[in-house]
């Protein structure tokens, strides 16, 4: 309230960034990460200028997307929540029946001119849908609405998990759970879900998980059992990080990465390169920037004026955190290997576009506040 009055009273002094719908604190955090990422990719790719240029192009494109999305009023998103969600579900079903198989998973839909991954769309469509759905009711939500939310959550999660794409399904499910949690779901239910989850774990293990997924989990506990097979990624990645020590081996001097012992070093395992070349200091720097972005995201969410905007902003921010936690956890050997990139650092376009769209929404929420009629 105070904020609103504050900004109203300074209506005339609205600065250029606000008019451009850019949140400068958030943008600076993002740009620092991206710049850092470029350096790391240059090193991890064996000093490939071509790869750096490609990544730079993606960064530019994603900034454009972010900027564009920031111009869209959250109210518009609210109106489109249901149609986009339904379209997403249909596309996921399409993948299920007509999708192309790549690397053993059925995730892509061939649109003729490009390969499209509907699960990626769902990463944003789904929290929008959830936020819209829950915010229709007075908060904290009643149990039956929570049940409705659960249905909305389970459909895409299961469809994606079935592809199989465990990483994305975790991210999608998490974004929905965050909406429900932030909406004020009672602690009793939270506790109940946690307990149910614990009970569900064995079922997941014995009936739902694929063999390769079980292997990944087992490998986590004892990577040395199969050091050249299942444990290779984890062992090499831990060696890279551990051998970096406090100060790191120096940029371009990481032997694990430069001599190619480290697999996937410019994509999912890029954090190991950071750990090796920049040491504990580098890791701490990265974690601090991430914490800063998350903090900023939660501030934006808290300041938002509608429940929809709050829940959406909170969910986007916390999903960003899930990326970080799952990725670094897996690369440093405390979580099983799941295909989740290190946000805004890893080489590759898809996740960056999605993330930046999300940040665009955050900026939109932050900068469209005063136009919202109470």
């Amino acid at each position: 309230m105070n904020n609103q009055m504050h900004s109203n009273s300074h209506h005339q002094k609205k600065n250029i960034w606000q008019r451009l719908h850019i949140d400068l604190p958030l943008l600076s955090g993002i740009l620092i990460l991206m710049a850092f990422g470029l350096f790391v990719i240059y090193s991890a790719s064996g000093e490939s200028v071509a790869m750096m240029e490609r990544q730079l192009t993606r960064i530019g494109l994603s900034l454009v997307i972010m900027f564009s999305v920031a111009q869209i009023n959250p109210e518009v998103l609210k109106r489109w929540a249901l149609p986009i969600y339904i379209a997403g579900i249909i596309l996921l079903l399409g993948v299920h029946f007509f999708g192309t198989i790549n690397k053993g998973a059925q995730r892509w839909l061939n649109l003729g001119f490009m390969e499209f991954q509907p699960s990626e769309l769902m990463k944003l469509a789904f929290p929008i849908m959830m936020a819209w759905y829950i915010s229709k009711f007075p908060l904290p939500p009643k149990k039956r609405y929570l049940a409705g939310g659960a249905v909305i959550l389970l459909i895409p999660t299961l469809l994606i998990a079935k592809q199989p794409d465990l990483g994305t399904s975790i991210l999608v499910a998490a974004s929905g759970v965050f909406v429900l949690f932030l909406s004020g779901m009672s602690w009793l239910i939270v506790g109940g879900i946690v307990i149910a989850g614990l009970i569900f774990l064995p079922i997941l293990w014995f009936f739902l998980m694929h063999d390769y997924q079980r292997t990944r989990v087992l490998t986590l506990f004892d990577p040395e059992k199969d050091p050249l097979g299942a444990g290779y990624h984890i062992i090499q990645s831990k060696i890279a990080i551990g051998s970096g020590g406090v100060w790191g081996k120096g940029w371009l001097d990481g032997t694990q990465s430069q001599l190619e012992f480290l697999p996937e070093r410019h994509t999912d395992f890029i954090f190991a390169v950071i750990g090796e070349e920049f040491g504990l200091i580098g890791s701490l720097f990265l974690l601090t920037i991430y914490l800063y972005i998350i903090g900023r995201g939660l501030i934006i969410a808290s300041r938002a004026q509608t429940s929809f905007a709050r829940l959406l902003a909170g969910s986007i921010t916390l999903t960003f955190f899930v990326y970080i936690f799952v990725n670094i956890g897996m690369v440093s050997g405390i979580l099983p290997v799941v295909g989740v990139p290190l946000p805004l650092i890893s080489y590759g376009g898809t996740s960056m576009m999605t993330l930046m769209t999300g940040f665009g929404i955050l900026m939109s929420i932050q900068t469209h506040r005063r136009f919202i009629d109470r």
């Binding site: 007075p138 551990g242 406090v246 504990l280 429940s307 405390i334």
Partner: protein
């Protein structure tokens, strides 16, 4: 109020503050979880840093051992006896060959692999690890190496390897002394592991298998060097980080005299037999020949199984080192020592005379022991008995001394035990005694046993080296050395003398007895083979029965099958006054000792005694 209306009622302020609480809570959770990540990183990068640093280095640094070059072997005058020659072989990595036959077909015209070789390679491959190199052709000529190198690109997985291989320029001349090197096999590996030396053989392919090559492996081998290379995940070498050159093996100089060895081999002329020449002043072996011999180089490159079985099945048994493994009845060559024992035990003195009617009987026993001379020697004293090798004199002597003193005395001259010469291929021979016979045959000792032993027959066996050694002790009047082959070795540039192992000398109750016996041997030489020699010498021949002749039978060398003929033996030394060389010669189935081994001994001593020392190459 209808419930529907209440549903749409939002308490915005309450919702906002509820959200803020939840957001704050989640932020705390985020902070805690990031701290968990961080503490895990701290664990990896600080607590376990050393461990991971080591493993990272293990990943990237490959230590490639490099083989030391083997020490050279020279004779006492610096003549090269074993050297290392550049050697090229064609190697193949099985897993990189798609079609073996096609590859071999393609190789034809560059390096021929014939059908037999192909068969053998395929056979070997069955038990060969797919990623380990396999030699498909050794001993490439320079031309073959050049032609292949040009065509290398056509043969992935096949390459030429360069190295050094042992080469013995005198081929079969030195085989039994030098031995040879061969590929390290599982037994060698086990031994090296047991002695904790396996690590130093990481790059070494060959190891001493016999003779000096085996005995002095520790000196000759040297220490491996290392190349520290940085490699990538595919094992490709990125750069060399550090080079530690290997320490070459030490060059060794043997006591052998190449020319004497050559002369001995030449005189043996392929006959079965052995020659050992020693310097009595220090026990250094001047020549050690076993005939027939074989080319040691065959074994360096891995002898074919046919070649090996031919050697193994050869009736003249070339693989045995007769000088140290051949067990022969010493026969009359030990009569001087038996006489010495008689003098020492005062059973005889230098004036004692014994009547030899051509036979001898144990008092009260019917059986007659014949002299080699049917009609006897008449009255014989100790000089006469040695010069004419009178058997009767020694029958009587041994009968009076008894086997116990005999065995004990001869034991001091090295009979019945290994001389501990510096090659492993040596046997102890047999110095019979009461205990020995009980253990071996579970039988009591009979007087008759002693009688045979008294003339070096019966159970008594010895090696040519033992004969030379005992003669050296006699010539030395009791000084005893361990016979040896190593003279000096080179440490860096300094020549170090190998220690000489001298034992407690034999002290006689009456040292004059040495002179009596040596004098008798000098007379023997003077009266036969060395009458016209320009130097003084001493000797004693022997003729060992290979099979028993019945009591009244006559032995006729011409009518007996060759392998049943007598062995001819001789021991000799020169010069008499101050002996520099002792000789023992055994010629198998050659017949009468004096007539057959004698000329050989004379020729050899001539070679050594009459040569102009200044003509020899300097050390």
């Amino acid at each position: 109020m209808p419930p529907k209306k209440r549903i749409t009622m939002h308490d915005h302020a309450a919702e906002a503050s509820l959200f803020k609480r939840r957001a704050f809570f989640t932020f705390i959770c985020v902070f805690i979880l990031l701290s968990v990540l961080f503490s895990n990183l701290y664990q990896l990068q600080v607590v376990s840093y050393k461990d991971y640093e080591t493993r990272s280095n293990d990943n990237r640094i490959r230590v490639v051992p490099t083989a030391p070059s083997r020490g050279l072997i020279f004779d006492r005058h610096g003549q090269l006896l074993a050297e290392n020659q550049p050697y090229h072989s064609l190697e193949m990595i099985p897993e990189r060959i798609k079609n073996l036959d096609e590859t071999f077909d393609e190789l034809n015209g560059i390096i021929e692999i014939d059908a037999d070789e192909r068969e053998q390679i395929k056979e070997t491959l069955k038990f060969h690890r797919r990623f380990k190199p396999l030699t498909i052709k050794g001993k490439l000529t320079e031309e073959q190496v050049a032609t292949f190198s040009v065509n290398q690109h056509r043969f992935p997985g096949i390459y030429v390897e360069a190295g050094l291989k042992r080469y013995y320029p005198y081929a079969e001349l030195m085989t039994h002394v030098l031995g040879y090197v061969g590929k390290i096999n599982t037994r060698d590996k086990a031994q090296l592991e047991q002695s904790n030396n396996w690590k130093t053989y990481a790059a070494t392919k060959d190891i001493g298998k016999q003779g000096v090559e085996k005995f002095y492996e520790g000196l000759l081998h040297g220490l491996p060097g290392h190349l520290e290379e940085e490699v990538n995940n595919r094992g490709r070498v990125i750069r060399t980080l550090k080079v530690t050159p290997p320490t070459p093996g030490k060059d060794i100089y043997l006591t052998l005299d190449l020319k004497l060895q050559q002369k001995a081999m030449e005189l043996l002329a392929g006959r079965r037999g052995s020659v050992v020449a020693m310097d009595p002043r220090d026990g250094g072996i001047l020549a050690m020949v076993s005939s027939p011999s074989y080319d040691a180089n065959l074994f360096v490159h891995g002898i074919s199984s046919k070649g090996y079985s031919d050697l193994l099945n050869d009736k003249s048994r070339p693989l045995i080192n007769r000088a140290t493994q051949g067990q022969y009845s010493p026969a009359s060559t030990i009569k001087p020592l038996v006489a010495l024992l008689g003098l020492e035990e005062r059973v005889i003195n230098d004036k004692t005379r014994v009547w030899d009617p051509g036979f001898w009987q144990i008092p009260g026993v019917e059986r007659k022991w014949r002299d080699w001379k049917r009609w006897g020697h008449g009255w014989v004293d100790v000089y006469h008995a040695i010069v004419d090798s009178c058997d009767i004199f020694f029958y009587d002597l041994v009968y009076k001394v008894g086997i116990d003193k005999m065995a004990n005395f001869m034991g001091q001259f090295g009979f019945g035990e290994r001389t501990n010469v510096d090659i492993y291929e040596e046997v102890a021979g047999i110095m019979p005694s009461r205990d020995w016979k009980r253990l071996r045959y579970n039988q009591a000792w009979y007087i008759g046993d002693s009688i045979s032993v008294g003339i070096g027959q019966g159970y008594w066996t010895s090696t040519p080296l033992q004969l030379a050694n005992s003669t050296a002790i006699l010539a030395n009047k009791g000084r005893r050395f361990t016979p040896h082959l190593l003279k000096t070795f080179k440490d860096d540039t300094v020549k170090i003398d190998a220690p000489i192992d001298e034992h407690q000398p034999i002290i006689l109750k009456n040292p004059k007895n040495w002179d009596i016996i040596n004098e008798a041997m000098r007379q023997t030489a003077d009266k036969s083979r060395f009458t016209d020699a320009t130097y003084t010498a001493a000797m004693k021949t022997g003729t060992a029965q290979v099979f028993s002749v019945g009591q009244d039978e006559k032995y006729n060398a011409d009518t007996v099958a060759e392998h049943l003929r007598d062995n001819a033996l001789i021991v000799a030394y020169a010069p008499y006054e101050n002996p520099r060389i002792v000789l023992a010669v055994v010629l198998e189935n050659a017949g009468w000792g004096g007539a057959n081994a004698g000329p050989l001994a004379r020729a050899l001593l001539d070679e050594y005694m009459l040569r102009d020392e200044w003509m020899l190459p300097n050390e």
